[in-house]
């Protein structure tokens, strides 16, 4: 069914989140909704599926105006969202998860007719190409499978408009292919599909129409055939960005800061051997679950070492705890999940930045943290990293993704870490901020001579930044490819090289 938005506006105190946005989503099309963080995307999504009402404008389905008051209300009209955070009842079966909102339909003799419910669920599972027993508990499924279950649930609720909010952020490349097959199939069946993603390659691959928002305003809706990546980026940020070419980092192969020899942690990864040179950006490339983050968290003492040896600055070490790692070895870890385990969202910027140095700046007698010193450090880092905020006392939870990422990095700069492990630095960060973070990481290696381990599943990011790239597959390091600055290397040769190691 055709979903039509007319002159949608929405304001929050101090911000005009949406300003007179009109878009038409047609059936049988995949329509991308793009924009930098803060462009108004999430507000528009919320308005479409009924989570939050717009101040002005109308939303109509097949010409019938809707006045949605809640997500449930939206679902009643056939509008459903498939989230990036996949929420399931992990103790229940797949079938029950699909039918959870329709259980009363399966009532018989005061109980539930499981036979009928499972049979119906199976039908929808087949629609999304998921070959599993509907009675399987959902807890054991992969993120991608759970997502397909979510789509099956949407279909079972007779949804006609399906919104995909960053559906590929936590699933592997193979699973993305599968998801896209399902989306193609739904498109052929005439569903109205809205696709929200930061990954432009995917948008170019799957979408038919692209709508771009910027600063709450509708910048334009174009057919995909008129667009390429550069044009989309231009529309999104309103200026042409140069794909930055970073120069070669000069490193000495004998000047090692970190060396791992056949390092293993039971069940997490095996036999990892590598070395990290001073002033180098060493890439860990691989899919989620391939062992790269696990290796990083073992290096910092979060997971135990079960075999092998680790040496820092040429000395064999045993890192017992994260505190030990920071204090003794000056290794900092910037988490891939900023919001979950990286930042203290309720606390201000100052506290988040200086947490790791409190012990260093406390008064020996009064035990008090030196507040002036703390303020100076935070202010210095704000300027150095160009953090956009009202001041160091702003709550971190209110900042944009890019600024939050800068603060996660700032914490370890404050602590004077000379080895930094940066995990997925640009997940959920808009394109402008992404380029800034890349520049920041590169400068840290080049100017500050920090030794950096960069973990990423974003191929362009990895290739443009890393001096050498270790490829991870199924809990092992399968090989290493050189950096793009080495003679004879191009983006294509490298991505093919990485592809071979991952196959």
């Amino acid at each position: 069914m055709t979903l039509e938005l007319r002159n949608i506006s929405k304001s929050f105190p101090g911000v005009r989140a949406l300003d007179d946005v009109s878009v038409t989503f047609k059936p049988g099309e995949v329509h991308a909704l793009l924009g930098e963080n803060g462009a108004g995307k999430s507000t528009l999504i919320k308005a479409i599926c009924g989570i939050q009402r717009a101040d002005q404008g109308t939303i109509s389905l097949e010409g019938v105006p809707l006045n949605l008051s809640s997500l449930k209300d939206g679902m009643r009209h056939g509008i459903t969202i498939v989230n990036q955070e996949i929420q399931v009842f992990s103790e229940s079966s797949v079938a029950e998860n699909i039918m959870i909102d329709k259980l009363e339909k399966y009532r018989s003799f005061g109980g539930i007719s499981w036979k009928r419910l499972n049979a119906d669920a199976l039908e929808y599972l087949e629609l999304v190409g998921l070959e599993i027993d509907p009675e399987t508990p959902i807890g054991g499924l992969s993120a991608a499978q759970k997502q397909l279950v979510q789509i099956a649930k949407a279909l079972s609720s007779k949804a006609t408009v399906i919104l995909f909010d960053e559906p590929t952020s936590s699933i592997t490349a193979n699973e993305v292919t599968k998801l896209f097959e399902v989306i193609e199939d739904l498109k052929a069946k005439g569903y109205t599909l809205i696709f929200v993603s930061h990954k432009l390659e995917e948008v170019l691959e799957i979408c038919d129409q692209v709508t771009v928002l910027r600063d709450g305003r509708h910048v334009g809706t174009r057919c995909i055939s008129e667009l390429d990546k550069e044009t989309i980026i231009e529309l999104m940020i309103g200026r042409k960005i140069q794909i930055e070419n970073f120069a070669r980092l000069d490193t000495d192969p004998d000047d090692l800061v970190l060396k791992a020899k056949e390092l293993s942690s039971k069940g997490l990864f095996e036999n990892a051997s590598f070395d990290l040179r001073r002033g180098e950006i060493l890439g860990f490339y691989g899919l989620v679950g391939s062992g790269r983050t696990e290796l990083a968290k073992t290096i910092i003492g979060h997971f135990p070492v079960s075999a092998g040896a680790l040496s820092v600055h040429g000395r064999d070490v045993k890192i017992r705890s994260v505190a030990d790692c920071i204090k003794v070895h000056n290794i900092g870890y910037v988490s891939e999940n900023r919001k979950e385990d990286g930042l203290f969202l309720d606390f201000d910027i100052e506290t988040n930045m200086t947490m790791a140095i409190w012990k260093k700046i406390q008064h020996p007698v009064t035990r008090a943290i030196n507040m002036t010193e703390q303020r100076n450090v935070a202010n210095g880092l704000m300027t150095a990293l160009d953090v956009r905020a009202t001041g160091i006392d702003q709550r971190v939870g209110n900042l944009s993704g890019g600024n939050q990422q800068k603060i996660s990095i700032a914490k370890w700069l404050a602590a004077n870490c000379d080895i930094l492990i940066i995990d997925e630095p640009s997940v959920g960060v808009d394109i402008g901020a992404k380029a800034m973070i890349h520049k920041l990481i590169w400068d840290l290696a080049k100017v500050e001579k920090k030794s950096i381990i960069l973990i990423s599943s974003d191929m362009p990011e990895m290739i443009s930044l890393a001096s050498r790239i270790l490829v991870f597959k199924e809990k092992r390091i399968t090989g290493v490819v050189p950096g793009i600055a080495e003679p004879g290397q191009t983006y294509d040769t490298l991505s093919r090289g990485i592809g071979r190691l991952m196959a």
Binding site: V322, S335, Q362
Partner: protein
């Protein structure tokens, strides 16, 4: 200068101003409606009870700040009181020595709670629910239900004496609250407690030894519970095994009314001060309006619920305002 800092929320936060406002309104209401309210005798009594409540609340609030709880605070207080009574009465020890022994036992109890929580990794609710019974068992096992009455007069003076019309306990409370304020604002331990309560995983990855922090909070909680128990003995003039029995409600009520976040990460000394004041005023008020005392707990429970709802409303409101 002071005014702008005050407005910026640096000295008194939004949450705190609400609590202070509520306490002020109650004080004004009582002053206007009752002639006996502002008498010296009444003020002495009110502030003395408030002081005791503050120690009770602190024992809970330091645990809440880490995102955990301690249901056994009352049992620890009872245990401390009974050990003290046993030492001075049955064993005839001097009261300073008895006090040290009793506080030592309190700390042991706290260390046990902390050990099971951090080393064995059991949820604080389960741990302290179990130890609530274990410690209470010791209280009655040792005392056999009897009170110890031979409490040295010097010790009793702490809970009954006054200076400039206000009880000694009041000064003790103010001093303690200043120390607590200082700890949570300026010391590494205090700040790490709040960080642990705000986001446990992030705290771990920031190199904070969260096990040690939670252990520290348990010791602190037991210490406040122990001190509270001893002050109660001093005020009553006898060490009764029933001391601490009504602490569960008081400890949560004053801590929550006083602006301590149930989910962890927030504690405020001035808020606790007002929380304690509000609690005594309400209890006092219920008597003044001649409410049926048998229903007292229902009133107090409703007030806790109301406070939580207000806090929740404030959270929702500030989230809405802060989002773009």
């Amino acid at each position: 200068m002071f005014l702008t800092r005050l407005k910026s929320g640096k000295i008194i936060t939004g949450a705190e101003s609400g609590i202070i406002g509520a306490a002020l309104i109650l004080v004004i209401l009582f002053t206007l409606s009752s002639d006996s309210f502002l008498t010296q005798y009444n003020l002495f009594n009110l502030t003395r009870t408030q002081s005791l409540y503050i120690f009770v609340a602190l024992s809970q609030a330091v645990m809440l700040a880490t995102g955990n709880m301690n249901l056994s605070v009352g049992a620890i207080a009872g245990l401390t009181a009974v050990i003290f009574g046993y030492s001075v009465d049955t064993l005839d020890l001097g009261w300073p020595l008895a006090l040290l022994i009793a506080l030592g036992v309190a700390l042991l109890a706290g260390a046990f709670n902390g050990f099971v929580m951090t080393v064995l990794g059991v949820n604080s609710f389960i741990v302290s629910l179990s130890t609530l019974f274990i410690f209470t068992g010791f209280v009655y096992g040792i005392s056999e239900g009897y009170s110890y009455r031979e409490i040295p007069a010097d010790f009793v003076r702490i809970g009954r004496g006054n200076f400039l019309g206000l009880p000694y306990l009041f000064y003790l409370m103010v001093g303690t609250l200043i120390a607590v304020w200082y700890m949570f604002r300026y010391t590494v331990f205090g700040r790490q407690v709040l960080a642990t309560g705000s986001n446990l995983e992030a705290a771990k990855l920031s190199g904070i030894n969260t096990g040690r922090i939670i252990m520290g909070a348990n010791l602190l909680s037991a210490f406040f519970a122990g001190v509270g128990g001893l002050l109660w003995v001093s005020r009553l003039g006898s060490a009764q095994p029933a001391i601490g029995q009504n602490w569960l409600l008081i400890s949560f009520a004053v801590a929550i009314i006083g602006g301590t976040a149930l989910a962890g990460g927030r504690i405020t000394a001035i808020g606790l001060f007002c929380g304690g004041l509000i609690m005594v005023l309400i209890k006092n008020g219920l008597i003044l309006v001649q409410a049926n005392v048998y229903f007292e707990q229902a009133f107090l429970g409703s007030i806790i619920l109301l406070t939580i709802l207000l806090d929740r409303a404030r959270e929702v409101w500030s989230r809405k305002a802060g989002k773009s």
